[in-house]
């Protein structure tokens, strides 16, 4: 039978079906958190007394979704649905907040505070509603302030230094330049992060981290290109591709946070030490912010308040070996391994610590681009 051309009414039916399908997709899409947030805000403006949704969306780092990290909130709000989205870097988290801002709460690390405020992505925190706020030392509170306003809630913190295997390294490591030592070739591991590489170089050369010149950045790039073959690999996950290699004895010298140090001290798989470089350790702080687009502000506040509570903080310290800003929890540490990992008995530790400064977006972009050239070169 000869084929007949499609009649005009058949085209009409097809186009109509397509339009209906798209419309259905749009209707379906309005069920997404972002769309419901928009719908919620318009509803809220029409009827201000409408209740907040009993659900939260948190933009987190993989691993932090573990209920141990937010056990107090889960216990207090068993019926609240908490969903987690994930970012793999500070840049990724900022990018996701810029692109959609659909998460009520986001988690990032020191050095990135200013960007969220400048771009209007974050809502000021009403600390008067936080019953655990007085357990946070003022020094930590200040780190979450921009222009005198408390935009961010500090939560986890820790050190960055050189973790090394004392059975493979002769003597004591006392400088960041150990990461460039040919004697440890193929047994070194640097964190896969451009700003971190720049930070290490500024410590070694005494540069001002907030004002790196083009010449200095070129020198930093050249030295990391030379350092590249010395690495076993650039690590990306502390407990996925880094700590297991330290435990197996394949990594001897590494850029590391104290979490892996404590892990290896506990399991005694390798004899390790955590350096106090003459240039100083680095210290980092994790912050939570509440999205400016959230329609669950009060619930988000409760979530953050419960993050500061005893159990959640204790779990961060005892299960994951991260510091927590609740000073009552930190003061209650008696475990010798944790005391060693956090340097609690060392009164001079903070004097030998550099805190990550705020830098501009252009600086961060330049450092990340530099690192890409190092990796790809």
């Amino acid at each position: 039978m000869p084929a007949r051309p499609l009649r005009p009414h058949a085209w009409f039916i097809l186009v109509t079906c397509g339009a209906l399908l798209l419309a259905a997709c749009q209707a379906q899409g309005s069920g997404s958190p972002g769309a419901s947030a928009a719908a919620g805000s318009s509803a809220a403006s029409a009827a201000p007394s409408v209740a907040e949704p009993n659900a939260l969306s948190v933009l987190e780092w993989s691993g932090y979704e573990d209920p141990k990290f937010w056990i107090d909130f889960q216990t207090a709000h068993p019926d609240t649905q908490v969903n987690f989205d994930f970012g793999i870097s500070d840049s990724d988290i900022l990018g996701k907040m810029e692109a959609s801002g659909q998460d009520d709460i986001f988690h990032f690390y020191s050095g990135w505070q200013q960007f969220y405020v400048d771009e209007g992505l974050v809502k000021e925190i009403d600390t008067s509603k936080l019953k655990n706020w007085d357990k946070v030392p003022d020094s930590f509170k200040k780190l979450g302030q921009i222009n005198g306003k408390q935009y961010f809630l500090p939560w986890d913190w820790g050190f960055t230094s050189i973790l090394y295997n004392t059975s493979k390294v002769s003597g004591t490591i006392d400088s960041w330049d150990a990461l460039f030592n040919q004697a440890y070739a193929k047994h070194i591991s640097m964190w896969d992060d451009g700003p971190a590489a720049v930070t290490v170089s500024t410590y070694i050369h005494g540069y001002d981290e907030t004002n790196i010149t083009d010449d200095q950045l070129a020198k930093i790039e050249a030295e990391w290109k030379l350092q590249k073959p010395l690495n076993l690999h650039y690590w990306t996950g502390e407990y996925t591709d880094f700590c297991p290699e330290v435990q197996s004895g394949d990594i001897w010298v590494a850029y590391a946070w104290q979490g892996c140090y404590a892990t290896v001290l506990y399991d005694k798989s390798q004899p390790v030490a955590y350096a106090t470089p003459k240039e100083g350790r680095n210290s980092w702080v994790g912050f939570y912010g509440i999205s400016s687009q959230t329609d669950s502000y009060n619930l988000a506040l409760q979530f953050l308040d419960d993050k500061l509570a005893k159990m959640s903080c204790e779990n961060a310290v005892t299960n994951f070996y991260y510091g927590c800003v609740n000073q009552e929890v930190m003061a209650g540490i008696t475990d010798p391994v944790l005391i060693q990992a956090f340097g609690i008995n060392d009164p001079s530790i903070l004097a030998h610590t550099n805190f990550t400064p705020l830098v501009t977006q252009a600086q961060r972009d330049a450092w990340t681009a530099m690192w890409l050239r190092v990796k790809g070169g």
Binding site: M1, S91, D92, L94, D193, K228, T236
Partner: protein, 285 residues
């Protein structure tokens, strides 16, 4: 009741819409983002279109060099996987007889586990405390574990070949099955030995399937980024890793999109050139 053409439309429209929504439109979006002038994230307020990103791609030697390295790695992976998969497909077609279905299922067993798990297994095999070093030390061939076999370009190639072999065997198996056995019987009647029949009939007639296999492996391998990030170390960094880093670490979506478009076009050109050089209709005759 729908006529023949109506049935054709009825069958063709859903997959067409699916491809349009999830393949063509995203490609257009990526292309549009790559034509943004600014550095970083999506912002159409600073003028569009612009070739700034493409200028940057060609002005930075590492991007093109890394694309070349990735293409060479993909060629080695695709050629090796095709060559290694060929005997498997041949065995299934001509030797397995009634057990062919069972063997085919066994070939597909690895797909029952996750891709990541299979790649991670290679870390255990190639690591300094892995199975290969254990065998070497146990046999007394080395006194200490050999240097790490993992975290290298070679590890990426070895792992990818392993991952692709079961996939690669399927198109070759399909091509071999289509060979009319009467050709082989006629050749045997005319005195051709097994090797002659294989070289003069089986190989040429299965070559289109083998070439399809090669490209099926080559094209996605050029943009591979998961395996290199797991077993590649600092040497095994591929072009796909640059794109991934630009999107997820640098927040530079515009340059990442331009690199993705350049890769797409480069692979298309390579495939078209290869198809031009190898006339499938001639080799299959």
């Amino acid at each position: 009741m729908l006529g023949r053409r109506g049935s054709l439309w009825f069958l063709a429209v859903p997959p067409f819409l699916w491809l349009l929504a999830l393949f063509i439109l995203p490609l257009i979006v990526v292309g549009a983002i790559s034509l943004l002038p600014g550095t970083g994230r999506i912002d159409f307020s600073h003028g569009w279109p612009s070739l700034n990103q493409y200028q940057q791609v060609f002005a930075t030697d590492i991007y093109i060099r890394r694309l070349g390295i990735s293409a060479v790695m993909a060629f080695v992976v695709a050629a090796s996987a095709t060559i290694l998969a060929y005997p498997i497909a041949y065995f299934l077609t001509f030797r397995a007889r009634q057990r062919a279905t069972v063997y085919l299922i066994l070939l597909l067993v690895p797909f029952a586990s996750s891709y990541l798990l299979r790649v991670m297994a290679w870390k255990l095999l190639l690591g300094s405390h892995g199975a290969i070093n254990w065998v070497l030390t146990s046999l007394g061939l080395v006194t200490e574990p050999a240097g790490l076999l993992v975290y290298s370009q070679a590890a990426v190639v070895i792992t990818l070949i392993y991952v692709w072999i079961p996939f690669a065997a399927l198109p070759i198996y399909a091509a071999l099955q289509r060979i009319d056995r009467s050709h082989l019987e006629a050749a045997a009647d005319l005195g051709a030995g097994p090797w002659t029949r294989f070289a003069r009939i089986t190989v040429p007639m299965s070559l289109p399937g083998a070439l399809a296999t090669f490209f099926m492996v080559f094209i996605p391998t050029v943009g591979e980024y998961v395996t290199p990030s797991l077993v590649g170390g600092t040497d095994g960094f591929m072009y796909g890793n640059i794109i991934q880093d630009l999107f997820t670490r640098a927040g530079n979506w515009t340059l990442g999109a331009a690199l993705a478009v350049v890769m797409l076009l480069a692979v298309l050109v390579l495939v078209l050139v290869a198809l031009r050089l190898v006339d499938l209709r001639r080799v299959a005759v």
